[in-house]
């Protein structure tokens, strides 16, 4: 296990180099001229040159790339070109609000969808199964904007169940504003998740061990929750763990409609403003998160399934 982990961690290094290189090349090829961008609409050639020098963009590209790599190793991404804020502070400030929305919503969504999928698997082929399946399909077909616009207009504005949008930085105060976005997050994950988990459970439910358990006279709840659920954990872990990085990176639309000052908004602004330091920090962070969670999911396979051995 230790050997496996070391090897996997070492594999990350070349991959991360690749990611940094691609980000760097992409930005320099298609990113627009950041110095001109920062110099503003009245800028003269001289003013653009001054800013180019101040941003370090007058140095040769390989030097700029080395500087970027150096920043990564020192975990100091510098300041945003657009807002002049420290990037680590921007992320630290944004991560709390993003996670306050996505984490509870995600957990809630998983519990609801797994429970519902187990019930559907149990009563497969009944009207309950058919109606739920069709509803899930319909829910998946609707754009997320429809849920957001409708939820905000009807639930918040017309019925007054929730505030329309806003944010309170105190931990206790923020939940008032998170209620509706969490409900919408759960609704958005419902359709796809239920259908996926239902298929996973159906794969399991016809196995011999289930028949044996039934023959032994075990009750259905115990079969579903103790045996089927446990055996279906591998695909569940894959789906759940690999969604984790996206939770940290925030939910862009929900954040911007409900005024949650999370990471999603920071990323969009950075892209709009050709804010390279923020974009590269973000790309790097996403790559690291993705790889780390992938490793976690591999380790978890071994934990839940004795047949899996990490070598």
């Amino acid at each position: 296990m230790f050997k496996y982990l070391t090897r996997r961690l070492l594999y990350m290094i070349p991959i991360l180099f690749g990611v940094t290189l691609i980000t760097f090349i992409l930005f320099n090829v298609v990113g627009g001229d950041p110095a001109a961008q920062a110099a503003g609409r009245h800028a003269t050639a001289e003013q653009i040159e001054v800013i180019r020098r101040e941003l370090g963009l007058d140095r040769p590209l390989p030097m700029q790339y080395l500087f970027f790599v150096q920043q990564i190793f020192s975990l100091d991404f510098g300041r945003s070109w657009s807002t002049k804020q420290e990037i680590t502070t921007m992320f630290a400030d944004g991560m709390g609000p993003s996670l306050s929305l996505t984490l509870p919503a995600f957990i809630l969504a998983q519990i609801i969808t797994i429970a519902l999928a187990l019930l559907l698997a149990r009563w497969r082929g009944t009207n309950f199964d058919r109606i739920t399946k069709v509803t899930c399909l319909a829910m998946m077909s609707l754009s997320s904007l429809v849920y957001i616009l409708w939820g905000q207009y009807v639930l918040a504005y017309q019925w007054g169940w929730f505030p329309i949008s806003g944010w309170d930085n105190s931990f206790a105060g923020r939940w008032e504003y998170l209620g509706l976005p969490i409900v919408i997050f759960v609704l958005l994950s419902l359709g796809g998740n239920v259908l996926f988990y239902r298929t996973v459970f159906l794969d399991e439910i016809y196995h011999d061990y289930v028949r044996t358990a039934r023959a032994k006279g075990l009750n259905e709840a115990s079969i579903l929750f103790k045996h089927v659920l446990r055996n279906a954990l591998i695909p569940i872990i894959t789906r759940v763990v690999l969604q984790m990085p996206f939770l940290i990176l925030g939910s862009l639309l929900l954040e911007s409609f409900f005024g949650i000052p999370g990471i999603g908004g920071i990323v969009v602004q950075a892209i709009q403003n050709a804010d390279f330091p923020v974009i590269k920090a973000m790309t790097f962070l996403s790559a690291v998160l993705y790889m780390v969670f992938q490793l976690i999911s591999d380790v978890l396979y071994a934990v839940v399934d004795p047949k899996v051995q990490l070598r």
Binding site: T44, L108, I111, Y153, E176, G179, I182, F257, Q272, N273
Partner: protein, 585 residues
């Protein structure tokens, strides 16, 4: 497993709890909204409207605009009076109002704000020129103040510091500031009313360093309290502020609307100011409709439901919602790259394109009619604007367009190369590009649309690679020079003259006008330049937009102009009426 499930459910249910609304804001609060996130509050790095608005409540400069008078009129703010200008126009002497103090802040001894002096202005303006600050606003002084560009160069080479004097910026005593110019620059007074030329205290800049952008310390009527980035900024009334009172003169309209009822009163009227950053249209509009915001610009999609024949609908009126229509000092235009071998070298082709552009329909389709057709680069309420002027190529006339297209060498569009129209990737920009394409197809011209991100779009223009594109310019100050400089030969790309238009005749007039003080002679030259631009057609002027802002009737003294930024201090909230009306919204 079950234990985890229960714990998770508890977290979930906790998150759904506490959905009650609390009246946590003090009664006399003004709730303002901006539709973009505020980037930062260090005046040297302020370049957008929204950051300007916020900064202008806390920071002040030498001059500002009278709140009620139209056309806009400058008046002293931290200056004791309007400056004395030497007869050659090169020396401007300002007297600083004595006793003006910075906000109390930890940066000062015993946290007590000290008096503003002339040296503070010199320091603040050197910060604009300091290359390390990467200020976008240096253009306001670039090449105009004796010795300032030299100081900037030396700073870049680390051969100078803030104690190195600049010959054109001197303070003979603590309340006198003398500015020496390299050439006449009558726009100087306008730029001294902008949010980038305000005064900042050296102590705060040094204490907070790069974090100064998050710790504004100015002299204004409101003091900084807190800022949750991408959410809201809170400011509180500065109890020591007494720079001026509510204006006593206004227009007849102001008398009728009650905007003069507070004449001579102490400012500001509200105790607290909250600026909400709400990017999406729907939550911004719904929050206004619920009374959580005191005023808002009507989003495009909500316009038809709220306004009919330039009045609020009956339903809105019943809710006590009022409308303010203002003419924006801006111009949207279709630009041609004059260096382009196809459109740049063929005047008749440009004229044909102009005549085939149906501006009236464009205004209906894309601005809900909220704009007036532009006939020149100079917008309304700006010196040089003439409402009766008609640009000969601004009529929508397909047959005339076709005639000119033949003269251009492309009868019925035959043989004409495909024209590339550059635009940004927003949906409205793309729709407008499609509309342009449709207009051109009517005379047989083929158009290819290139839509990219804003940075790529502007880079393309700066690198002179764009052929035709749509763009807009908003006034920095109410002088036609601010628009005509977009066609001045010395300003070609990467400067603001993206069209790369060069005309000796136009440039000579531009240079002549720049040496003249405001007055009839200068206005006449502006109009001559306008006529030359109409003849050579480096642009098709499209529209001057109108601002439609709605506000609740509990908000008093509301009079909006996009160039005036320090207007929140004049607004009064009738808190009793707000309490009653809000309950019914």
């Amino acid at each position: 497993m079950f234990r985890i499930l229960i714990a998770a459910l508890l977290v979930g249910s906790f998150s759904l709890g506490g959905c009650t609304k609390k009246g946590r804001e003090s009664e006399n609060t003004l709730n303002v909204v901006v539709s973009s996130n505020i980037k930062g509050l260090d005046p040297v790095n302020i370049s957008d409207t929204y950051s300007s608005l916020v900064a202008s409540q806390m920071y002040e400069g030498l001059l500002h605009y009278n709140y009620l008078q139209r056309p806009l009129k400058l008046q002293p703010l931290l200056a004791a009076e309007m400056p004395k200008v030497s007869s050659d126009g090169l020396t401007h002497t300002f007297k600083i109002r004595p006793g003006m103090k910075f906000h109390d802040d930890q940066a000062f001894p015993e946290s007590k704000g000290r008096e503003v002096t002339a040296e503070d202005f010199i320091y603040s303006w050197k910060r604009l020129a300091d290359p390390a600050n990467q200020s976008e606003a240096f253009w306001v002084f670039d090449g105009k103040i004796v010795g300032l560009n030299e100081w900037r160069d030396k700073m870049g080479k680390k051969e100078a510091d803030y104690s190195t004097p600049v010959a054109g910026l001197t303070a003979p005593d603590k309340n006198t500031l003398v500015i020496k110019l390299t050439k006449p620059y009558y726009q100087l007074h306008y730029v001294l009313a902008m949010s980038t030329t305000v005064v900042v205290p050296k102590e705060a800049v040094e204490k907070y360093g790069k974090e100064f952008l998050n710790h504004p310390v100015g002299t204004g009527p409101f003091k900084f309290e807190s800022w949750t980035r991408n959410s809201q900024i809170v400011m509180v009334k500065n109890p020591n502020w007494a720079t001026h009172t509510y204006p006593t003169e206004g227009t007849e309209e102001d008398k009728a609307s009650g905007a003069l009822a507070d004449a001579g009163q102490k400012l500001p009227f509200v105790d607290k100011l909250v600026v909400h950053e709400i990017i999406e249209d729907q939550p911004r509009w719904l929050n206004f409709m619920k009374g959580n915001l005191d005023f808002v610009a009507i989003p495009k999609d909500n316009f038809d439901g709220a306004v009919q024949s330039n009045q609020m609908t009956e339903e809105m009126q019943k809710k006590g919602i009022l409308l303010s229509i203002t003419r924006e000092p801006d111009v949207t235009y279709t630009a041609f790259n004059m260096l382009d071998p196809v459109v740049g070298k063929n005047e008749n082709l440009r004229k044909a394109i102009s005549l085939a552009t149906d501006t009236d329909t464009l205004i209906q389709k894309f601005y809900n009619g909220r704009a007036v057709s532009a006939h020149s680069p100079i917008p309304p309420d700006v010196d040089g604007y003439d409402a009766n002027y008609k640009n000969p190529y601004k009529e929508y006339n397909i047959s005339k367009a076709k005639e000119l297209l033949s003269k251009a060498g492309f009868p019925e569009g035959k043989g004409a190369p495909e024209i590339e129209y550059s635009t940004t990737s927003s949906s409205t920009a793309r729709q407008m590009a499609e509309y342009f394409k449709q207009n051109m197809e009517a005379i047989g011209l083929k158009v290819k649309i290139d839509s990219t991100s804003w940075p790529q779009f502007t880079t393309k223009i700066r690198e002179k690679k764009a052929q035709v594109w749509g763009i807009a310019w908003m006034a920095d100050y109410p002088d036609a020079e601010n628009f005509l400089q977009l066609l001045y030969g010395q300003n070609v790309s990467p400067g603001p003259n993206g069209s790369n238009y060069k005309s000796k005749e136009f440039d000579a007039l531009y240079e002549k006008a720049s040496k003249l003080p405001p007055g009839n002679e200068r206005t006449k030259i502006y109009q001559q330049m306008r006529d030359i631009a109409a003849r050579d057609l480096p642009w098709i002027p499209n529209a001057h937009r109108l601002g439609y802002i709605t506000y609740h009737s509990w908000l008093k003294n509301f009079k909006y102009h996009s160039i005036i930024n320090d207007y929140l201090k004049y607004l009064r909230v009738d808190t009793k009426a707000r309490g009653e009306q809000k309950a019914n919204l």
